[in-house]
């Protein structure tokens, strides 16, 4: 973590346009990203947002139509994939079916022309790293999906790449295995100290694993930040909406006082909210409140918001409650089930909502 200031990858004004004339499609436009050494960096976004295209540009399977991609200061954008010290874990692993596990792992080093003894040692190291020693002589079709995933990881790490790219590597696994592999990937990253660039559309996965996240949509980067920043301080409506569940409320700006801003909600209550630094809020704004930052209470005249419970969804660890506000919009609350038994409210109850200090934030639209 000491050398985290050093940049592994710099993406400078990268764009990728397919086709020409009327049929032109812009997959990426004007992307700027700095990815630090040793970082677990995630590209997050819905399908078609350009995250995989960006990964392919870094890997060399595709070439940018604009901008440059620096790997430790050197422009790699014009290099073919086999000349880049960058390896990829593919979505469907792309293991070579005619080779054993060990041969798959050793392939990269073999192509680099390393001596046989070095390859053998490195393959053993990698097998140990992913706990696959017992499978070394199996054909890759004879092992399970989770094991294939480990082999794919070991194969990509064996040549000690400067950056490891992971293209939705967990999407083919079932829930439990996916959770296991998330921990596993974090462990491997910590042990090897290699910069990971991870592509996913799963926001939960991104929040759980990343040091920093770049949220993308429509070929643009919307926000870059630590998981908590992305979640708690979304820069704009798309980010707030895409990451987790969110309540959006219309409000009017009353006064601005340093980092705080006072707004009036549609029911007349006043609320303090924060706002992104690059925004100068005035007039009508949208504020965002996360479902877990509001609590249900019995009706009281001093409550900030009141409403009627529309429905409750019991989810084991917590309960989702949707409250119908007087202006007919729905407000979602996520309440932890920290006591055994029902939560004590039922559909149709009149309730008031308490909003946690500092939970409200104004958004760029």
């Amino acid at each position: 973590m000491r050398k985290q200031q050093e940049l592994a990858i710099e993406v400078r004004g990268v764009g990728r346009v397919y086709g020409d004339g009327a049929g032109q499609v812009t997959a990426l436009s004007n992307i700027f990203l700095n990815i630090r050494q040793n970082e677990f960096f995630t590209l997050l976004g819905p399908s078609g947002c350009g995250k995989t295209t960006l990964l392919r540009l870094i890997a060399g399977f595709d070439f940018p139509t604009d901008g440059e991609i620096l790997l430790y200061g050197e422009d790699i954008a014009p290099l073919p994939p086999f000349k880049r010290p960058v390896n990829t874990v593919f979505q469907n692993y792309a293991l070579f079916p005619h080779m054993t596990v060990a041969q798959n792992i050793g392939f990269g080093l073999e192509m680099l022309g390393r001596p046989k003894t070095e390859i053998a040692t490195r393959v053993e190291e990698m097998l140990a790293l992913v706990h696959m020693e017992a499978m070394r002589n199996r054909k890759v079709m004879q092992i399970s999906g989770g094991q294939q995933q480990r082999v794919a990881l070991a194969r990509a790490l064996a040549p000690k790449p400067k950056v490891l790219l992971l293209d939705e590597p967990l999407s083919a696994l079932d829930y439990k295995l996916r959770k296991e592999m998330q921990v596993e990937l974090k462990r491997v990253q910590a042990e090897t100290g290699i910069t990971f660039i991870f592509v996913t559309h799963d926001q939960e996965e991104a929040l759980a694993m990343s040091d920093r996240i770049a949220v993308m949509s429509h070929g643009e980067v919307r926000q870059v930040g630590a998981p908590w920043e992305i979640y708690d301080r979304p820069a704009e409506r798309f980010v707030a909406d895409f990451i987790g569940e969110t309540n959006f409320l219309a409000a009017d700006v009353i006064s601005v006082d340093g980092p705080r801003i006072r707004v009036r909600l549609s029911n007349g209550s006043l609320l303090d909210a924060t706002y992104p630094v690059d925004l100068m809020p005035e007039g009508k704004v949208t504020i965002v409140i996360r479902p877990e930052h509001a609590q249900l209470a019995t009706p009281s005249s001093t409550a900030m918001l009141t409403g009627q419970i529309e429905d409750l969804t019991y989810l084991g660890t917590d309960t989702h409650i949707r409250v119908r506000l007087p202006d007919t919009s729905l407000f979602t609350i996520r309440q932890q089930n920290n006591r055994v038994g029902p939560i004590g409210f039922s559909a149709g109850d009149a309730v008031s909502l308490n909003i946690s200090e500092g939970a409200a934030q104004i958004l760029k639209d």
Binding site: A59, P81, F82, T88, Q91, N92, F96, M111
Partner: protein, 269 residues
């Protein structure tokens, strides 16, 4: 004991299938049986004997024709497969472009053009060349067979390439394999069953050919099928049955190998 409705059961299917098999195989069965006839007739059974196999074996014309057939088929199959492999790679490992479909049909043209037309065309062309060069060896037959074998070799190879996950080649390139090494260590080994299948298909097709061969061959260049055709002008003895039987066994052997290859093919996918 099927009690419930079953989508896989079609009434009368078994009967019709049996009838078709009967029609298909009775003539062949009869042919094989009469290869072992001890008499001179191909229609009247006189007892069991290997005499016609011995007769065929001792017939120099038959042996020469057989050797020539295998020679032509082997060389034509190898050349056709090599060309077809290159063609298949060129037409699958590329982004689609205008004219690609035209190329497909161009490669597969020999399948569409009536064989007799090709035969006559080749006869005219080759006779000119023969006059100019004075060469009249097996080259013409090999060339002609290679030409019509190419689409047969091309189809299984292309099918295999199209089913191959492009990510595999990409992964190899990602792991520092140059384009040549990607081909050498990934594409070629995975393509190998397709290549062998294409080669065997070409071999069988060439071995069996009669129309083009009949037109293109020079004097004394009988292949097994043209020799047998020639024998029809005389009285047929069970020697023909014996030759056919050996031919049949050879084809069966090749088809069996083909089957096992395509099976190992599926397993490795």
């Amino acid at each position: 004991m099927r009690k419930r409705f079953d989508i896989r059961v079609q009434p009368g299917f078994a009967t019709i299938a049996m009838f078709c098999f009967f029609l298909l195989y009775v003539p062949i069965f009869t042919l094989v049986v009469y290869a072992f006839n001890s008499g001179i007739s191909i229609a009247r059974w006189e007892g069991f004997s290997f005499r016609w196999f011995v007769a065929a074996w001792n017939n120099n014309l038959v042996i020469e024709a057989a050797i020539r057939s295998v020679q032509i088929a082997a060389i034509a199959a190898v050349i056709a497969t090599a060309v077809a492999t290159l063609a298949a790679i060129a037409t699958t490992r590329t982004a689609g472009y205008r004219g690609l479909t035209f190329k497909y049909s161009f490669i597969n043209m020999p399948l569409m053009v009536p064989e007799i037309v090709t035969a006559v065309a080749l006869l005219i062309l080759f006779s000119r060349i023969k006059v100019w060069t004075g060469y009249s060896g097996l080259g013409y037959l090999i060339l002609a067979h290679t030409a019509f074998c190419i689409p047969f070799a091309y189809l299984p190879i292309r099918a295999r390439l199209e089913n191959m996950d492009l990510a595999l080649e990409r992964a190899a390139a990602d792991l520092y394999a140059t384009p040549f090494k990607v081909f050498r260590y990934i594409t070629l080994p995975l393509l190998w069953p397709g290549i062998l299948a294409g080669m065997m298909l070409s071999f069988v097709i060439s071995l069996d050919d009669i129309v083009i061969t009949e037109f293109v061959k020079s004097a004394g260049q009988e292949t097994l099928p043209t020799y047998m055709l020639g024998q029809l002008r005389r009285a047929i003895t069970p020697e023909m049955n014996a030759i056919s039987t050996v031919f049949l066994l050879l084809s069966l052997a090749i088809v069996t190998i083909f089957f096992f290859l395509s099976r190992s093919n599926e397993k490795s996918d």
